[in-house]
Amino acid sequence: MKLEELAFARQDYAYAFLDEFAKRELRRKILKAIAIPGYQVPYASREVPMARGWGTGGLQVSLALIGQSDTVKVIDQGDDDSVNAANLRRFIARMTGVKTTTDTLAASLIQSRHRIPEEMLNERQVLVLQVPMPEILSSVQPSYALAREMHSDGDYALLWLGLYEDLVKYREVSYGADYPVLVNGRYVMAPSPIPRFDTPKLHQAAHLTLLSAGREKRLYAVPPYTNVYPLEFEDVPFQIEDQRGWVDASTGATGKFMSEIPQDGGSSSYQLSDTGLKQKLERQMTGEQVEIGATYFDDDTNFYIAGFLKGSS
């Protein structure tokens, strides 16, 4: 018997690009992150054929998790077709041979930059978020060593002081995105720069959320059905962006996160940020049978968990 018959055939690239040791390390770190919700686990961020800051963290997690039966969706700011999303999707498909989709319901693994889809994810889906700055305390504590100490003490007073200062100065909290959240009553984490609109979607979500920062070499997780509360004063509740009255120009959809498109003459028109949902709604309008899942927010921007958003309406 010859060696060639016993061994696997030679391949130019490993399945899913990363070598088996890299994937095993990532999987172990992901397990650790799931075991300690919100805790930042350092990992050896590998080189991938893509510049740091373009989703290398999310890509490595996706590559470590992806199996041959998976279906992948990649989103960039809600958009399936932007250069970044298209490149990542093509790369993942080429290195693994898995199916790709733009339909949230059909995907088993969703890699996203800065958005959580409007349609509810289920227990069989995994959301991977790309994170530029994993350390929520870096804005108030420049030293990573001291920030880790603060995390271990649960000392988040400086973040609360930031909220206080915002309220004193602007009468509202000035975080546009990346609103700090308390995960499982223990660690405060940066939910990656998702808009405030998406922040409540993490609370008691059915799906697993993994957040990974390639440049900063940290990953963390929100396991399914975990409490995730935005930091808020008892008497000044957390608020999502007020987009009531914004209507999608092509489908007439309301109550979802919109992109504002400036028009000639100073007016604005609005467009659904989640293009996967937008395409499905457009197809539905032509009379096609399309399955549209339940959404986190209804048409009047009411969140599906009643009473969770004390500040709205």
């Binding site: 002081l161 206080y164 309220l167 004193v168 008892e234």
Partner: protein, 269 residues
């Protein structure tokens, strides 16, 4: 009434337990012996002054009492229900922080050490309450307003950052921050040094009034004998990391026994 049957109250100071007990405190910085066997007691509501020249270890004592630095040897006890009999130096980092937040206030000579210069003044005061777990915005505002007005800070300027304020005002913000949680112990490290004489007098007035109203125990470090004379009940003279003399303020300043204290009092006069 039969005079023989009447029971007299024992003098208050004989019955009272000291609030703070420090025994044989020493501190080394590398090979330098900064403190050598410093022991002190302070009774509730009392003001203890510590005088001495630069480098005598006055500020080191305060830093150790504020649990900012590890000690080299010695014990430190505060007579507080949940901490009775506990050597505070043995607490872990988290417990030390809790103790500092709830029971100890400090005012530094340099406001940059005690304040976040670019946050609002009221925010600086509120930070103490946030650390203690207060999560109501209205309550934070109320407490900040109360503490700032207690330290005679103009309320109309409560949301200005300390960097825009005068030295005297900055000291008042520090003071408000220190008293926000109504601590048992207030540590003052040269609180009026660097202020001009009239402002100094105003800050001293405030301190005296607060001490009277809140019955706080204070340890006041200063090289200015005038400040010590105004505020302190008892005084401790330090030199080269040792206590050379201690006693009632009037006694020590009128009739100094140790050669160094004599020199100090004469230099002042």
């Amino acid at each position: 009434m039969n005079l023989l049957e009447m029971t007299l109250d024992a003098p208050r100071l004989l019955e009272m337990q000291p609030l703070l007990r420090v025994k044989n405190l020493c501190k080394n910085y590398g090979s330098l012996r900064a403190l050598e066997n410093v022991s002190l007691h302070v009774y509730p509501g009392e003001v203890l002054g510590i005088v001495g020249e630069s480098g005598s270890g006055k500020s080191t004592v305060l830093r150790l009492l504020n649990l900012e630095e590890p000690e080299t040897c010695g014990t430190y006890q505060l007579e507080i229900p949940e901490l009775t009999g506990q050597n505070l130096f043995d607490l872990n980092r988290f417990q030390k922080r809790e103790t500092r937040v709830h029971h100890i206030g400090i005012v530094y000579q340099n406001p940059h050490l005690g304040l976040r210069m670019h946050k609002s003044s009221s925010g600086n005061v509120a930070e103490r309450l946030i650390l203690a777990g207060e999560k109501r915005f209205a309550e934070l505002r109320r407490a900040a307003r109360e503490a700032l007005s207690a330290s005679e800070f103009p309320i109309s300027r409560m949301d200005e950052p300390p960097i825009h304020l005068s030295g005297g005002m900055q000291q008042r913000v520090q003071l408000a921050k220190a008293i926000a949680m109504k601590p048992k112990l207030l540590l003052l490290d040269e609180p009026t040094t660097g202020l001009d004489v009239s402002v100094q007098a105003l800050v001293l007035d405030t301190l005296k009034r607060l001490q009277f109203e809140l019955e706080m125990t204070m340890i006041l470090v200063s090289h200015d004998l005038g400040v010590i004379r105004t505020l302190a009940d008892r005084v401790m003279v330090m030199r080269g990391g040792r206590v050379v003399e201690s006693g009632l303020t009037d006694q020590v300043l009128e009739d100094p026994q140790h050669a160094y204290t004599q020199q100090l009092v004469h230099a002042k006069l």
